[in-house]
């Protein structure tokens, strides 16, 4: 025994002060209270190494049971692209209307894969980590953010495959390839914001994560991943606002920016006007909005 035994304190009601006053007198703070937004950002910054380490750890643990191991990080997106090529390029012949259809398709598939899986995994980020939320203190935004970082790391590996495929299909490196960097960063900020917002919704309503695959599939088919929004809509007599809405679609914007950067035959006239402004706008709206929306419920995660 190192601590001298103390007698039990009298019950609180016997003392004159209320618990609140007693707490204030000794500088005690409310346990589990939500920090202010600047304080929250600072806490998150202090934990940045945890966020990245957790992302990297999960990335490495993903295929650790498979015999080919990390090769699957590269093989999975390539197989995905092959399936889409078989269905849309060979069977449905969507390639007739688009020049350089294979580079067009795989760029779309890879970028969409990042956007779609960020949002899907973000929806589950808090709910599937309830054990962690209930055991340790850290800004909960670390969970959806590390999910997006993990997927971004995966995207970078995939981009390596994309470069090889582009070269194989006759696309030559050009200065415009550098535009990939801002395009991907903006897409990442957009995805992080969406993942944060969906993480809050998914933690309150676990059923939402069951619906997400359907919502995301609808979004994918309307984002021009396998077909060109511009050339399809030009020929079909759709109202102008439909075309505009399809072109303002953030997923389509980021995918088309990547195509513009990487594919020679994908010219600027295929992009909606003010495309970079739209890309920045979506990133800011989703990024800031998602973060604030997530922070607003910080003290409630873990209620289950």
């Amino acid at each position: 025994m190192t601590v001298p035994p103390v007698t039990a304190p009298p019950p609180l009601t016997a003392t004159a002060v209320t618990p609140e006053e007693l707490a204030a007198a000794h500088g005690l703070t409310l346990s589990g209270a939500r920090p202010t937004l600047p304080r929250y950002v600072a806490q998150l910054w202090e934990r940045r190494h945890f966020v990245t380490a957790y992302a990297t750890a999960r990335m490495q643990a993903t295929y650790s049971a498979a015999r080919l191991g990390q090769v699957w990080h590269l093989a999975t997106p390539l197989l995905n692209a092959a399936v889409y090529y078989f269905i849309f390029g060979v069977i449905m012949n969507a390639g007739n209307r688009v020049a350089d259809y294979i580079p067009f398709l795989i760029t779309g598939v890879f970028v969409w894969d990042f956007i779609g899986s960020s949002i899907n995994a973000g929806t589950r980020a808090v709910h599937s980590n309830l054990g962690l939320v209930r055991a340790l203190h850290f800004p909960r935004a670390a969970l959806p953010l590390s999910t997006v970082i993990q997927l971004f790391q995966q995207l970078l590996v995939t981009m390596g495959a994309l470069v090889i495929l582009l070269l194989a299909f006759g696309q030559m490196p050009a200065p415009s390839w550098l535009l990939v960097v801002p395009a991907l960063l903006l897409a990442a900020v957009f995805c992080a914001g969406c993942a944060l917002a969906m993480a809050r919704i998914g933690s309150k309503n676990p059923d939402v994560s069951q619906l997400m695959p359907f919502i995301l599939r609808t979004w994918m088919y309307s984002s021009g991943v396998m077909w060109s929004i511009e050339s399809t809509l030009k020929s079909d007599h759709l109202p102008h606002w439909v075309t505009t809405a399809l072109q303002l679609n953030p997923a389509a914007v980021y995918i088309d920016l990547m195509r513009f950067a990487l594919i020679d035959s994908f010219k600027a006239h295929s992009l909606p006007p003010h495309v970079w402004l739209i890309a920045v706008g979506w990133a800011l709206i989703a990024g800031i909005g998602g973060f604030v929306f997530f922070w607003k419920a910080e003290e409630e995660y873990g209620r289950g």
Partner: protein, 258 residues
Amino acid sequence: MADTANRIPTVIADDVHVIYKVYGTGTRKGGATAALSRIISRKPAPGVREVHAVKGVSFTAYKGEAIGLIGSNGSGKSTLLKAIAGLQPVARGRVYSQGQPSLLGVNAALMNDLTGERNVVLGGLAMGMTKQQIHERYQDIVDFSGINEKGDFISLPMRTYSSGMGARLRFSIAAAKDHDVLMIDEALATGDAAFQRRSQDRIEELRESAGTVFLVSHGIGTVRETCDRAIWLESGVLRMDGPADEVCDAYEAFSRTG
């Protein structure tokens, strides 16, 4: 006894209620359309049941105290600890605390597919240690766990460890950090005899550096030995709060008859 004014409170629980929502208890199968309409109408699903795990518990813990939480299984001990730590949101009432109370345990952050080495770093970061601190304590953690006594196991994935080895490494990581208010949830009974002795010593050290220690244990002996005060919970209600020996006696008398 009367000079409570001179003692420094570290944790004040004021009428704390914790309510769990448990999904999937209903017998009716929920179809996709039913789920959708529930989401839209924001009604609780028919299969949701609320469990009122902690019902209006109030107490004040002071600096230097070691408090044992006792009670039968499912009486809300662990839930109360999580509520004090601010990890389990309270439904009603308030918890005030000095600094950040932490639960001793890091299991949830560790990954079985990664090596012990990586898990030490990951666990440390999850607990809020800096890279520098982890680097300084890394060797201590590994030595303390005794993982490398039978060869270089620290560089193997944790899924290859025996359950005892895994538990030892988890405890070693969790105990590497000092805390203001420390909560231990039946972590004492892991590993072999030699490791248990080491972990007892380490908990003593942690107790000395921590302001207040909470210990949840089914072993009344452990509570008598290590705590000076005990709180007895029964079905979420605070039944008794006082010197460890008195409360343990009463609890034992209750268990025999009950």
